[in-house]
């Protein structure tokens, strides 16, 4: 009986517990339902909120863009308004300064010079601002044209070298021969910015510019590498680079001046042209900026005129490199200019020690050596080079103020030139020592005797070997006998004319790469052009060409052909 009572109570309790559990379960279920409901609603609200915010943001963005456009427009107008009076200030201050100089009013000369200088500084600042606002307003236009890399760089170097050298820096460069399609003014501006920065932030160091062919993502292009051994930047400083009005730190303005616009502009310009700028820097050691630009301009449809990739090596191949050792920067620059025009890679050294080091490192094909230099003089360099069995074979051309040729030859110099040296002289001497150049032969195809003779004289004078042919058929026989490095072709000729000749010429694989330039008196029609297109390098109208231009073109084509071989 007792036991039944216990069990009954137990069952009673269990029942109650079950009911309670069910109630709890039900309540939890309800709670879950409501919470779920709330969540759904919250979700809806969130979506709504996101929509609202997005709309607000896009409005804000539109407003910002518009505000920015108005700002840029304003800046553009303002800059113009500012430039006009500023030009007057600069012009008049310069004029007044000259007058003051003439009249010997020394006190004014200085002050007027300051006004003039400050005015020019202000102008460059305004120009920068104008540029930047133009870029940002989308109003900066590109003018793509065929650009001779060497000439452009020489221009920039001439402008920038006093600036760089004023800080006691040495300016070194390795330039490339070639043509690219780009906006020359903007390229100049970019290089000027970077080079002047390098010069500004480097004292008693080296600033170097190296130009090389480089493909980026399979796109052929040119890379300009500006390296300095200056103050460098910390990673934090580099984070703000390329932002307008940002300098590495505020003390920069005090110490070095500037606006912090140069890099911002350079980068935007690069991007507009389909290129980019990269920077590497080590604090207190130096900085390297690398600009890459496509060689075909930003327009991808445009064919590149540059030699293909791989031919890049010609820059370094010993047989085309000339080492110039001279302590006079003006002389170095002159040589650089002369020689790179001829398609040689030029390495320069400011003193004997460096010259020897570079000779060992780069094994140039010819060395030009100044005699009078502070420190180690030319004679010492000459004997050192000649006593090194590995370098003794490199021809050395001595350049001196005094005629010590006998001593020079006795010590092993290959040639001896007396300053001042003119361009033709130095080139002809160099040519003499560069074997490859001597074997270059040019086939002149021309039925008019007078013209043919004239051309031949001109070319022989430049040191080329010339073969003549009176018409296409004879010319083909000549080519079959010995392949010329270059062909100068007339179009209107008896028997076989120029059109037929090139068609025949291009049929043979081994003849296909010979560069051909057409020199004609014929009025070239669009149809003629079509027929010659792809077969010839260039078409020159008789009477419309300049001797220098033609020779330069021939030289360039010969270099191109040499590297393609």
């Amino acid at each position: 009986m007792q036991e039944i009572e216990v069990l009954r109570r137990q069952i009673e309790r269990e029942k109650k517990a079950r009911k309670e559990a069910e109630q709890i379960a039900e309540q939890k279920t309800r709670e879950i339902y409501y919470v779920n409901q709330e969540l759904l609603q919250l979700n809806d609200q969130l979506e709504e909120l996101v929509k609202e915010r997005t709309a607000e943001l896009s409005l804000a963005r539109d407003e910002a863009i518009e505000a920015n456009r108005i700002k840029s427009q304003f800046l553009a107008n303002m800059s113009h308004e500012l430039r006009t009076p500023l030009n007057a200030i600069i012009g008049y201050s310069e004029m007044l300064k000259e007058e003051a100089e003439d009249e010997g009013v020394e006190g004014f000369v200085d002050d007027l010079g300051k006004i003039h200088h400050a005015g020019k500084h202000l102008l460059s600042l305004i120009n920068d601002i104008l540029d930047l606002s133009k870029i940002e307003a989308g109003k900066m236009d590109l003018y793509l044209e065929s650009c001779d890399i060497n000439t452009t760089i020489q221009d920039v170097l001439t402008t920038v070298s006093p600036l760089v050298e004023s800080n006691g820096n040495r300016l070194e460069f390795v330039i490339l021969q070639g043509v690219m399609r780009t906006d020359i003014t903007k390229l100049r501006q970019i290089l000027f910015n970077l080079l002047s920065n390098a010069g500004k932030f480097t004292k008693q160091g080296t600033v170097s510019l190296t130009v090389s062919l480089e493909a980026y993502h399979g796109k052929p292009g040119v890379s300009f590498c500006i390296q300095d051994t200056g103050i460098g930047m910390t990673p934090e400083q580099m984070d703000h680079l390329f932002q307008a009005f940002k300098q590495a730190d505020s003390s920069t303005t005090r110490k070095y001046g500037g606006t912090g616009l140069g890099l911002a502009i350079s980068q935007r310009l690069c991007q507009m042209m389909g290129g980019h700028i990269a920077v590497e820097s080590v604090y207190e050691q130096g900085t390297t900026f690398t600009v890459w630009l496509p060689s075909s301009g930003s327009n991808p449809d445009c064919e590149s005129v540059l030699p293909e990739e791989g031919s890049q090596s010609y820059l370094d191949e010993g047989h085309n490199t000339i080492l110039v050792i001279d302590d006079d920067p003006a002389m170095l620059q002159l040589m650089q200019r002369y020689l790179s025009k001829e398609g040689y890679a030029v390495i320069v050294a400011r003193n004997g020690q460096e010259g020897i080091r570079l000779a060992k490192e780069r094994r140039p094909s010819v060395i030009s050596l100044d005699v009078l230099m502070p420190g180690m003089d030319g004679w010492t360099v000459l004997t050192t080079l000649k006593s090194d069995p590995e370098l003794a074979g490199i021809p050395i051309i001595m350049i001196s103020m005094t005629d010590d040729r006998n001593l020079g030859y006795a010590l092993g110099a290959s040639d001896f030139l007396i300053k001042p040296v003119n361009r033709d002289k130095i080139i002809s001497v160099l040519d003499k020592h560069i074997m490859e150049r001597q074997s270059d032969s040019i086939l002149v195809i021309e039925d008019d005797l007078a013209t043919s003779q004239m051309m031949t004289r001109m070319l022989v004078k430049e040191g080329y070997r010339v073969i003549r042919a009176g018409d296409g058929r004879i010319a083909l026989e000549c080519v079959a006998q010995s392949i010329p490095q270059f062909i100068l072709l007339d179009l209107m000729m008896p028997n076989m004319d120029g059109f037929e000749f090139v068609t025949e010429l291009r049929k043979r694989d081994e003849w296909r790469s010979i560069p051909v330039v057409v020199l004609t008196a014929k009025d070239i029609t669009a149809e003629d052009r079509m027929r010659l297109n792809g077969y010839v390098e260039n078409i020159v109208q008789k009477g419309h060409w300049r001797r220098e231009d033609l020779l330069e073109e021939i030289r360039n084509l010969l270099i191109g052909a040499r590297t393609n071989r």
Partner: protein, 179 residues
Amino acid sequence: MKGMVFTSFLEMVENKFSLDVADQIIEASNLPSGGSYTSVGTYPHNEMIQLVVQLAERTGIPVADLVRTFGEYLFTQLIAMYPQFIQEHQTAFSILRKVDNYIHVEVLKLYPDAELPTFEYETSEPGTLIMIYRSSRPFADLAEGLILGCIEHYGENIEVKREPMDEGTAARFVLTERK
């Protein structure tokens, strides 16, 4: 206190003593819940104290011993309900060290109304783990039981010494591995 503690307790009384004893202690205690518990409910912890006191009276076994034994039993129930905690640990020390900052934290997420003790650990000596129990309720014995249950589960040879502490319900357990 969570219902599962009560249901486990009564289950233990029924098994170790008898249905009759379970009934007696419920009837003798003055319980607001009437002694009907469901594991999903929550009940005043005083009911547990009353039940234990009644059980001690009826069996002549000291309260502390009863609660400790219950702790051992409760541990087997807990790990049956939450097997993942055991799976995550290979030794008693390792799981015991996780009670305060992990297991009970997870428990509180599931049952926001759970009332849990805190444990403070000292591990400065190798082979020794010191746990300091603190709670607003006097369940140090339960903690001891749970610790013992845990050691038993892993079949390890660990000595548990309990040192009283001056502050209220707190207790200090010194666990030493025996070689």
